[in-house]
């Protein structure tokens, strides 16, 4: 079985990789490209720990094949901060103690950013429903919701 040659853009950088047709994007990121910030919690699209965006669309990278990102733009947690300046969401997660173990955090941050890009002024209920595809077992979600709302407020300049 020969591998496919894929050209894509990840976090603004041109990237090429070889990929077996059945390999999930998650495995490509983690095992081939050494981008281990995207986490595997289930491999079945139920936990959201592997969330990335492809051309702006929020997806579970365990449910996307590596070959599907040919010519697309992929954004992962490694591209979220601007140099040594954290994204507002990253900073608010720290300030609000919105992570305990932190394994779900990259997925939550990617998902929350996708929400705020679509809806800069979400209600608490909208945040809770948007993030319902991301599992956290440590925090009970309270401080995550607070951090996202605080980030939205700061980004709006409110």
């Amino acid at each position: 079985m020969s591998k496919h040659h894929i050209s894509t853009v990840i976090n603004g950088n041109p990237v090429e990789f070889l990929c077996e047709p059945q390999q999930p994007l998650l495995d490509i990121l983690r095992d081939e490209l050494n981008m281990t910030g995207t986490k595997e919690g289930c491999g079945t699209g139920d936990c959201g720990a592997c969330s990335v965006t492809i051309d702006g669309r929020l997806v579970c990278s365990c449910l996307v094949l590596g070959v599907e990102v040919q010519g697309k733009k992929v954004e992962t947690i490694e591209g979220m901060a601007d140099g040594d300046t954290l994204h507002v969401l990253q900073r608010k997660f720290l300030e609000h103690a919105a992570l305990q173990c932190g394994i779900c955090t990259p997925g939550f941050l990617i998902a929350a950013r996708a929400l705020l890009e679509r809806n800069p002024d979400p209600t608490e209920e909208q945040v809770r429903f948007w993030l319902a595809g991301n599992l956290c077992r440590c925090t009970g979600y309270q401080k995550i919701i607070e951090a996202v709302l605080a980030a939205a407020k700061e980004i709006r300049g409110a």
Partner: protein, 758 residues
């Protein structure tokens, strides 16, 4: 030489604040290295062959074909691990039997549950390793299985171990059974106690097995060298305990195994034991290459954790003015395939919130064809609390008393008796109930199909062995290290205690977790012990360097050390009559370290006793949809005695997290087996843990009754919060619908059936 430098009455400067954690930035940028994130040059991929059967005799395992597959470098089975003597070692509550443990890592004579590991392959790619698993031929003799705990206790039930004679019964039974152990705690006179009661209620309950549900599956990388030296990168709740188990299971010297603590993606008790680590080491030893082994989510649910399901009967008597006079209960716990359920904890915690003069708790540890139970947040206590706190609610209603008032009337305080002997040494239960009663929402009226339920909880909390180092750097910054895995902000709480003790800003302290070769033994991050025990080690180490710095200042000033005090980060002259010297800051002393004696640092090691238990009291407002049976949590209020919050927000976060795990246990989570003994819901889609949209705002009341045995008054906070929710929510559902739920989870079909059968 150690001098008490902290005045506990002094106002605290940094303890109790909520700074950003030291390990925060790597965790929000994706750069933190968790268990599955380490890879090594020349690394192979390990995969594990698991039993498709709930119960079968292994007649043979043939690996010949798999070994010929190109890319396969090693295959191990149970025969590759040394066998162990059949004996229970360690304290009874947490006894380990290595004869059992090695058989749980890799099955030998029999497979005892679906998902039981029995062979493993190391190959150059994950795909080849998977292909090789399919080529391993196992000849099984399928045996009848048993899943339910009550059925497993019946005469004639399929036996997991043909020679298991129940321990704790005199005279010993003549016949083997699935009951590994019977135990009993009794005080007073039950007949006399129940004779005083005006109301007696006896009810039976069942609870489902539930998984810890950490988001990170188990994984590790092992590198075993031809010189017998091994390094292991593993995400666990305690790398020293991983070292102890793994070296014992492999027959290695403890010192030949160095364990690096990867960041851990949640544990909740489930990562205090080993599964993949001994297999990875065995594969690495046999192949001569580093080997990475990762579990899938399905593996995690089928072969690790969970905590026990149970069957129990609880009988309690009260007088009409609300005095609990007697309690008598039987708790039957699923241990899974090997003995060791937390039923002893369940018996001890069952009545521990209350001063009950006459009580008995009988426990049975029962094996069945399920994965071996592992610790889960206050192991055992939530299960017995579901029964006891449900019965108390029925009694409160019968005597017409507010359910918190009933609990307050009987709440323990320092000096109250326990069911297991020693008296309670700490207050906190009464204060916690009182704080909950004062919550403004406790008396607010509710609407149709809505109800409010309360419950209390108790957990021992842990102390034990910990070690910490502190080093003062030449610029006045400080590095501390412990051997306690940071599962939810403990690096931050250690740094806060160090900064407070040394009298310097939090930002000047770098807080780290060191590997097994770089610091003394630390027991697991579990039992809510780290802030307490490891915190004491950190403060002790800081006090040692303070004494060292006092000595250096005394030498500089040519005065006696007793004339030098440490205050606000400075060495100062205690009494100006011996000389008028400008105080020396920590940084100033550090800058002169070379000429005053060399490096400034200390290690402290403790085996901490004196821990204080966790007391919790919660109320939940629910609304039940009587058409669907769905229960919505409208409000959750959790009061807990934390001793003193070291990091305020992470302390609060522990309580919120425990509450939500309890809500999941109450309403959704359960292991569902089909008729063949196979798990039907081995994934997060069907094993449904709570999501953000299921939940209301979580209100936390932190009650601070300081523990005098800790320099800053800390009590463990991690666990007791999961004890009250199940009973409190059942009590709320009863108040909403008039229907008493006696079986967990209280999922919509069960609630609907209960309402419809009224």
């Amino acid at each position: 030489m150690l001098t008490k430098t902290m005045n506990p009455e002094k106002a605290l400067k940094v303890v109790g604040t909520s700074p950003v954690r030291p390990d925060g930035v790597p965790k929000v940028t994706g750069l933190a290295v968790y268990g599955a994130d380490t890879s090594l040059p020349g690394m192979l991929w390990g995969k594990i062959l698991r039993s498709p059967h709930a119960h079968a005799r292994i007649k043979s395992i043939n690996t010949a074909k798999a070994l010929t597959l190109p890319g396969v470098k090693a295959i191990v089975t149970g025969a590759d691990l040394p066998d162990h003597k059949f004996e229970y070692v360690g304290p009874e509550r947490v006894a380990v039997n290595y004869w059992h443990l090695t058989r749980n890592i890799l099955a030998r004579e029999k497979v005892l549950y679906e998902g039981h590991a029995l062979a493993a392959v190391a190959a150059t790619t994950p795909a080849i390793a998977q292909q090789a698993l399919d080529l391993i031929e196992v000849d099984y003799e399928i045996l009848p299985h048993v899943i339910d705990v009550d059925e497993a206790m019946q005469p004639g039930a399929p036996l997991l171990f043909e020679d298991m004679i129940t321990r704790g019964v005199e005279p010993a039974p003549a016949k083997p059974s699935n009951v590994s152990k019977r135990l009993e705690f009794s005080v007073g006179n039950l007949d006399a106690g129940f004779a005083q009661a005006d109301e007696i209620v006896e009810m039976s309950f069942k609870t489902a097995a539930v998984h810890q549900g950490y988001i990170e599956p188990h994984s590790c990388v092992a590198r075993y060298g031809a010189d017998g030296q091994c390094e292991l990168w593993s995400a666990s709740q305690g790398h020293f305990v991983v070292r102890a188990y793994t070296s014992k299971l492999l027959g290695m010297d403890v010192g030949s195994l160095l364990v690096h603590p990867a960041e851990i993606g949640g544990g909740f008790g489930g990562k205090t034991v080993v599964y993949v680590e001994p297999i990875a080491v065995a594969l690495s030893k046999k192949s001569g290459h580093p080997v990475k082994v990762m579990m899938s989510r399905e593996d995690v649910l089928k072969a690790t954790g969970p905590t026990s399901g149970s069957s129990m009967t609880v009988k309690i008597g009260v007088t009409k003015d609300g005095k609990i006079v007697a309690a008598d209960s039987t708790f039957k716990f699923q241990a899974g395939a090997f003995p060791g359920s937390p039923v002893m904890n369940a018996c001890m915690c069952a009545y521990a919130c209350y001063d009950i003069p006459n009580s008995r708790a009988v426990g049975f540890d029962v094996v069945s064809n399920r994965p071996k139970a592992a610790a889960y947040r206050a192991p055992g206590s939530p299960i017995s609390a579901f029964g006891v706190e449900s019965v108390l609610d029925v009694l409160a209603k019968k005597i017409g008393m507010d359910p918190l008032e009933l609990r307050l009337k009987n709440a323990v305080k320092a000096g109250s008796p326990t069911a297991w002997g020693p008296k309670h040494a700490h207050d906190g239960m009464r204060e916690t109930i009182e704080a909950l009663m004062k919550h403004p929402a406790y008396k607010t009226p509710l609407g149709k199909n809505q109800g409010r339920g309360v419950a209390c909880g108790y957990w021992f909390n842990g102390g034990g062995e910990s070690a910490a180092t502190v080093h003062i750097n030449e610029d006045g910054s400080v590095v501390i290290a412990t051997g306690s895995m940071d599962v939810g902000g403990s690096r931050a709480s250690m740094a806060l205690m160090a900064a407070e003790t040394l009298g310097i800003p939090y930002e000047k302290v770098r807080s780290t977790v060191a590997d097994t070769a770089s610091i003394g033994y630390n027991h697991v991050t579990g039992g809510s012990r780290v802030t307490y025990a490891t915190g004491i080690a950190v403060v002790d180490a800081c006090n040692k360097v303070i004494d060292d710095m006092r000595a250096r200042a005394a030498m500089t000033w040519d005065v006696n050390i007793d004339d030098v005090i440490w205050e606000d980060g400075h060495a100062k002259i205690a009494d100006k009559s011996v000389g008028d010297h400008t105080p020396l800051s920590l940084a100033a002393i550090a800058a002169k370290r070379a000429v005053t004696g060399g490096p400034i640092g200390a290690e402290a090691a403790v085996n901490a006793g004196g821990m204080a238990p966790g007391f919790g009291a919660h109320f939940y407002d629910v609304e039940v949809d009587v058409e669907t049976g769905h229960t919505k949590i409208l409000r959750a209020v959790a009061a807990q005695d934390v001793g003193r919050a070291i990091h305020h927000d992470y302390c609060e976060g522990q309580i919120q997290g425990g509450v939500v795990q309890g809500i999941g246990w109450a309403l959704n989570e359960e292991y569902i087996y089909d008729k063949d003994g196979r798990l039907s819901n081995a994934g997060f889609l069907d094993y449904r843990i709570p999501v953000a949209s299921d939940l209301p705002h979580l209100d936390v009341i932190m009650v601070e009754v300081p523990n005098p045995n800790h320099p800053y008054g800390a009590k463990g906070v991690g666990e007791v919060n999961i004890v009250p929710p199940m009973a409190a929510i059942a009590n709320a559902i009863e108040r909403a619908t008039g229907t008493r739920m006696t079986s967990l989870p209280m999922s919509p079909p069960k609630v609907l059936a209960a309402i419809d059968s009224k």
